[in-house]
């Protein structure tokens, strides 16, 4: 629910205004690639202007801010997912094969034999490990 302009915190206003900067940044990148007319200086000048306008009139910008936040979360989540998949492939999988090569198997997946493991005790309550 939108709050009246006067009761928003500076941090909220800044966040709402800042959500206008990425589209301008994308336009600037497109300008550098020659797809959009104008000079980079114009776009650089526009950025603080839109930030200021967004901070002064947050209610007007808020619908965009909400959509932008959802897009950002979605994109951020997927980027992190892909990054961690990369970490898995580049670090975890080779390490796993190396461990198997030297005879270390973290998981006991044998099908036979007792699976009882003698308890080593509960350890100190002060330790989280």
């Amino acid at each position: 629910m939108s709050r009246p302009e006067t009761v928003r915190s500076f941090r909220d206003r800044f966040a709402i205004g800042a959500s206008l900067i990425p589209p301008v940044a994308l336009l600037m990148i497109a300008n550098r690639a020659g797809w959009v007319p104008g000079s980079p200086r114009v776009y650089l000048t526009v950025m603080p202007v839109v930030l200021g306008l967004g901070m002064l009139f947050p209610t007007l910008v808020e619908p965009w801010h909400r959509r932008f936040s959802r897009m950002r979360s979605w994109l951020g989540g997927r980027l992190v997912f892909l990054l961690l998949l990369g970490v898995y492939g580049v670090a975890v999988v080779p390490l796993a094969f190396l461990m198997r090569w030297v005879g270390k198997r973290p998981l006991d997946v044998a099908r036979s034999g007792s699976s009882w493991v003698q308890s080593k005790g509960y350890g100190s309550l002060r330790d989280p490990f």
């Binding site: 998949l85 699976s115 309550l125």
Partner: protein, 608 residues
């Protein structure tokens, strides 16, 4: 008074529990307050509720205990990925952000959730199975006992045997991940189309409709049970890193097809698989119980861990196992581990960082009947009803009992909200929907029109403790509805010809058809005046009018909803279902007098 707070959460069923000088003052599951089923988030509401119930703030806490060791659990998670690689990449990418996003720094998280917590107040960490063991033994009436805890997985242990004596718990031996009975049962739960960590008891309820024709296959190919009570899973059929279905293509080929979607009808093979896995689980648990007896020599057994909610298996352990007495933690799942963590901290030895309090078990257990949650005053109840424009009569205790019994005899379904909220998954007469068990159509009516749930699911009886032996083959008490027992022969009605599959539901098998399952069993709650005076009084009044000391007692909620907590939750559920009468505190409400046909739900519906 010295206060210790226990916390569980961040995986499923978050909860908090508060002890005062070792006595359980309060315990609350987060889902009851947040209205999100199986809520796994950090239990801030539960913590606040526990402190409010005791009239204290964080400043007054002597210690805070968390139910597992997060860094040990994280290292196990990493080792499992190393052991499972090259499989598991997607699970890794999903799991790591959760850990880095706050699961590792529990101290910081706890301190920020408890403003005012003194810097010298220690934050302690039990192991997961220590928390379960403590919740079972230290709350039990036994001075010494064998302790068996069985669940999906804690840090490494999935099964643990310990010896309890006095205030001390000595861990003896464990079975480690991935060999997990809880994981196996959950795999079949998901395969049959129910939700993991909440649908397991549906699988248990489905089992009597099937045939045990898959048992040998399961024992030869999926799980091997050993003479020493241990077991091993064949991981070629399971995917332990998958969060939802847990089974793989080989499993699907072997057992007749892909996992059932919740909207698809149940087939015979699902019924047979449910029956078979239930049988295998019971055998495994009996083997574990015998091992626990051999290792400890005790005549008493305490049970906890999510698998201890399998009350059919519990009944078999009691009847066929080597122990004379059995006590099961009513909140046997992870919610109860919050209580266990607090108890472990309270009684734990000084050298381990505990408070080293002495323990004197009482003849009854220390769970206070399981009624450890908040309650509302009559004035607060009326204020809520007024806010919702409800129409009610305020009655004194006697008049309320009479009117409720009138409604029950007339075949009406009654919502009953009295006193403190239960802690644990079962409703025990404080947040219950009640009905007449003698009615042949009550089970299907309540399932379909009141609870909006699968028609095959049986309802449970609450019976006066002093007359339970006449109706059920149960030796001893069952105040927490954690034991399944056969309906007594004197109440059984022979069935001329047994139908097949789900058609068995329609056949009347006893004088209490609504609470008799198709195999002639019932999940019994014995109600005594000491633990549960108000519900006992209601049962006595019903018995006086009808001769029957039994009522249907099912939890006050509909499908996908946590059990109601407040008067407002109860009223909304009452309006949105086909419950005929609501008795909340001293207030009596009838459906036809209410101005609403429907109200916005107070809960986040979680699909099956």
């Amino acid at each position: 008074m010295r206060y210790v707070l226990g916390i569980s959460g961040l995986y499923h069923d978050s909860a908090a529990a508060l002890l005062g000088d070792g006595r359980i003052l309060a315990a609350v599951q987060e889902e009851r307050l947040s209205r999100r089923k199986n809520d796994a988030r950090f239990p801030e509401r539960s913590i606040r509720s526990c402190l409010d119930q005791a009239g204290i703030t964080a400043v007054d806490l002597e210690a805070v205990a968390f139910y597992e060791k997060p860094i040990l659990k994280f290292s196990r998670t990493l080792e499992v990925f190393l052991g499972w690689a090259p499989r598991g990449g997607r699970a890794f990418a999903r799991a790591i952000p959760d850990w880095l996003g706050g699961r590792l720094d529990l101290r910081g998280r706890i301190r920020s959730a408890l403003p005012g917590l003194r810097s010298e107040c220690p934050i302690l960490f039990t192991t997961h199975h220590e928390a379960h063991a403590a919740s079972a033994f230290l709350a039990s009436p036994f001075p010494e006992a064998a302790i068996l805890t069985v669940d999906g997985v804690g840090e490494w242990a999935t099964t643990a045997i310990a010896r309890g004596s006095g205030a001390q718990i000595e861990p003896l031996e464990e079975i480690h991940f991935p060999h997990s009975l809880g994981l196996l049962y959950s795999a079949f739960t998901a395969y049959c189309g129910f939700r993991v960590n909440s649908g397991e008891y549906k699988l248990m309820g489905l089992a009597p409709y099937g045939e045990p024709c898959w048992v040998e296959t399961l024992l030869e190919e999926v799980i091997s049970l050993h003479e020493d009570g241990s077991f091993r899973l064949n991981l070629e059929y399971l995917d332990p890193l998958a969060e939802d279905h847990l089974t793989n293509a080989r499993f699907h080929d072997r057992f007749g097809g892909p996992p059932r979607r919740p909207d698809e009808p149940l087939e015979k093979r699902h019924l047979d698989l449910a029956r078979s896995i239930q049988g295998v689980t019971e055998r495994a648990l009996l083997g574990l119980a015998r091992r626990a007896h051999k290792q400890t020599g005790s005549a008493h057994l305490c049970l906890a861990g999510g698998v201890a909610l399998n009350c059919v298996a519990n009944g078999r352990i009691l009847r066929e196992g080597p122990f004379e007495k059995l006590w099961i933690q009513p909140a046997a799942g992870d919610a109860g581990a919050a209580l266990g963590a607090a108890l472990a901290a309270w009684y734990g030895p000084l050298e381990r960082g505990g408070l080293a309090a002495p323990r004197t078990p009482t003849a009854s257990d220390s769970m206070g009947g399981g009624f450890l949650g908040p309650e509302e005053s009559p004035e607060a109840v009326e204020a809520s009803l007024k806010r919702l424009d409800a129409v009610w009569e305020r009655l004194d205790a006697e008049a309320l009992l009479e009117r409720v019994v009138d409604a029950l005899i007339a075949g009406k379904v009654v919502g009953w909200v009295q006193g403190r909220m239960e802690f644990g998954p079962r409703a025990l007469g404080h947040r219950s929907i009640l009905g007449d068990p003698r009615s042949p159509d009550m089970q299907s009516r309540m399932n379909l029109k009141v609870k909006f749930r699968e028609s095959f699911r049986p309802f449970a009886p609450a019976v006066l403790a002093e007359r339970s032996a006449e109706f059920f083959g149960l030796s001893g008490e069952s105040p927490y509805m954690l034991l399944v027992a056969p309906v007594a022969d004197a109440q059984r009605i022979p069935v001329a010809r047994e139908a097949e599959g789900l058609d068995r539901l329609k056949q009347v098998r006893s004088t209490l058809p609504a609470v008799t399952h198709v195999d002639g069993s019932a999940r019994v709650q014995t109600v005594d005046a000491e633990r549960n005076p108000q519900f006992h009084a209601l049962l006595k009044r019903f018995e006086a009018r009808t001769g029957c000391p039994v009522l249907i007692n099912t939890s006050f909620n509909v499908r996908g909803e946590p059990v109601v907590g407040s008067a407002e939750d109860a009223y909304r559920c009452f309006i949105n279902s086909q419950i005929d009468v609501l008795a909340v505190g001293p207030c009596y409400l009838e459906r036809e007098r209410q101005p609403h046909a429907a109200l916005p739900r107070s809960f986040e519906a979680i699909p099956d």
